[in-house]
């Protein structure tokens, strides 16, 4: 199949989602509420970094300019990153971290299931590995959303606040531009509109079980996957990219 700019863009988006959320989750290491969660968060971060490596390597090959996973991860600036805005938002507390993981991993499960049949066979192979991980992440975070939502008054309030804050960013999951239309037409990935109802059908019952109120949709729109980010991404990148930027060309 001939490589199109939309194809490169699409795979880059998937890689950036995994990398940026993996980076955020790694900030928890050593600071979680219980030792088991230190390990779970490190483990899930590791899964996402692993996915990012495969996806960015694949994107680099599709691009054909000799850029490897590290050049893509460490030498691009904000406007060239294509992750969902939700992934770059600060952790804030364990509640927001778990609600975010739940919303995102639930999307990933549906997406990877569809990508098993992608016309891009490399992407289909990555999907097969990533699907198992995403299922675990969704289960882990979903369990916590229920515990926190239906726990103490304080945990309920924090979980609801997290959901209220994050929910508007989920509209971006299903937003489409000509890239997405080209991807669907080429059989590389599903149209986002096809996933929206399925995602809500998975997410809403868990939020109900957690006794949380699903917020109404608002006119707010975020555009991270189209390259326009929040203020938070620049800080995340300046920390993540520090060594590669300070010592250009060094091998590590």
């Amino acid at each position: 199949m001939t490589t199109t700019p939309a194809h490169i863009e699409y795979v880059t988006r998937l890689g950036d989602n995994a990398l940026i959320l993996g980076q955020r989750m790694s900030e928890w290491c050593g600071h979680a509420p219980v030792l088991e969660e230190d390990m779970a968060l490190a483990n899930m971060s590791l899964d996402l970094i692993g996915q990012a490596r495969m996806l960015l390597t694949h994107a680099g090959k599709l691009e054909g300019k000799g850029r490897d996973e590290d050049q893509l991860a460490f030498l691009r600036t904000e406007m060239h990153y294509r992750n969902l805005t939700l992934c770059e938002l600060p952790n804030v507390d364990f509640g927001r971290t778990m609600v975010r993981n739940f919303l995102f991993a639930s999307l990933q499960v549906l997406l990877w299931e569809r990508l098993l049949a992608s016309s891009d066979t490399e992407l289909a192979a990555i999907a097969a590995k990533s699907l198992k991980e995403a299922r675990y992440h969704a289960q882990h975070a979903g369990d916590w959303v229920v515990r926190l939502g239906d726990g103490t008054a304080e945990s309920h309030e924090r979980a609801q606040a997290a959901l209220d804050y994050l929910w508007p960013y989920t509209a971006e999951f299903f937003a489409a531009n000509p890239t997405d239309e080209a991807i669907a037409a080429a059989g590389i990935g599903p149209a986002w509109s096809e996933l929206e109802a399925a995602w809500e059908a998975v997410v809403v019952p868990v939020l109900n079980e957690a006794t949380l109120t699903v917020p109404a949709r608002t006119p707010f729109k975020s555009y991270g996957k189209f390259g326009r980010h929040s203020e938070h991404l620049g800080h995340l990148l300046s920390e993540m990219q520090y060594l590669q930027r300070t010592y250009p060309g060094a091998q590590w």
């Binding site: 980076q23 390990m39 490190a42 590290d70 726990g151 590669q244 091998q251 590590w252």
Partner: protein, 333 residues
């Protein structure tokens, strides 16, 4: 790792061994130890033996989780995705070591919460090596090479220690630590093949970590207060000075291959002894760090306490949810 403080005099150190509590049980216990057998959780054991193990195992567990902090300091800044993945996996392993060790300590009748409380209130110690800061990426390699290397030397004898649950935990821990050491060394080899700036970073890290690493073996045998009793109980099999010498001998050769020098002008091969001689250890520095007279100690403990306090609402929520769920099940039944 991280058993150095076992040998440190404590103000309230119990006078081991205690009076024989039950002569028949004591005889059976002694016979098992003498035959090189394992004591299991359900077996009778002298109270002083139990207390020594609780102190040593919990100290070791605390060291693993405090040890996540200096290395965690570089996870978000790792220079490549591969190195980030390796470091994350390593720090995750350390959390796992903490878990098995707390579980081993729990077989002796203490709870993890009690042990953590002792850490957070400063009553329990952890290995002072983790009070040193990680200043550059090379520190991550040097910790793997020297600190984990010293830890392995200390820990391999513990795989045969007389308390079964501890010995079995150590077998698994030692395997993972050896892997960490090789990864640390590989990181340094790559940096040494790199630019002048990278080589300087490695040498600077070696200069800062060498002496603290050899202090990890604890005081000289003649000054070690707990060693005699621990040796009789089969908890400690090889002396501090013997382990330290073994570490120095192995490490100097690795430093030559790497192309770094140790910050010790007196370090040289002694043909007669068949070992490397090394300079005098600055014990004032050692005791200062061990006794927590340092801001590193303040910062590490504060980070642990903050994580614990910030997470209180999460732990309470999990318990409350479980109570609600059980009550609903009860009502439905």
């Amino acid at each position: 790792m991280y058993t150095q403080a076992l040998d440190i005099p404590q103000q309230n150190a119990e006078k081991a061994p205690r009076a024989v509590e039950n002569p028949a049980y004591q005889a059976e216990f002694d016979a098992k130890i003498d035959a090189g057998g394992y004591i299991e959780a359900k077996d009778w054991m002298p109270e002083a033996y139990r207390k020594t193990l609780v102190r040593q195992i919990s100290q070791h567990a605390h060291s693993e989780i405090v040890g996540m902090l200096p290395e965690g300091n570089w996870i978000t800044r790792a220079p490549t995705l591969k190195r980030k993945a390796i470091l994350l996996a390593k720090v995750q392993d350390e959390g796992g070591h903490g878990l098995y060790l707390y579980a081993a300590a729990e077989t002796l009748g203490v709870s993890r919460d009690e042990l953590l409380d002792a850490l957070h209130t400063g009553k329990a110690k952890y290995s002072s090596i983790f009070n040193y800061p990680t200043l550059t990426w090379a520190d991550i390699g040097v910790i793997g090479w020297l600190v984990d290397g010293a830890a392995i030397m200390n820990q391999i004898p513990l795989c045969k220690c007389s308390y079964g649950p501890y010995a079995r935990a150590m077998v698994r821990i030692c395997k993972e630590e050896s892997f960490h050491q090789r990864q640390g060394y590989d990181l340094l080899l790559t940096m040494m093949k790199g630019t002048q700036e990278q080589r300087e970073m490695v040498q600077d890290a070696v200069n800062r970590w060498w002496w603290p690493s050899i202090m990890m073996f604890g005081p000289h045998d003649k000054d070690s207060v707990h060693s005699g009793q621990s040796a009789r109980w089969g908890i400690k099999r090889i002396s501090n000075d013997d382990l330290r010498q073994k570490f120095v001998d192995a490490t100097v050769k690795q430093a030559e291959v790497l192309g770094v020098t140790m910050p010790d002008p007196e370090l040289k091969w002694n043909e007669e002894r068949g070992h490397y001689d090394f300079g005098a250890i600055d014990w004032d520095e050692f005791w200062n760090v061990v006794n927590g007279h340092g801001q590193g100690n303040v910062d590490r403990l504060a980070a642990r306490v903050k994580a614990w306090e910030d997470g209180a609402w999460v732990r309470e929520a999990a318990l409350e949810h479980e109570r609600k769920r059980a009550a609903r099940e009860h009502q439905a039944a």
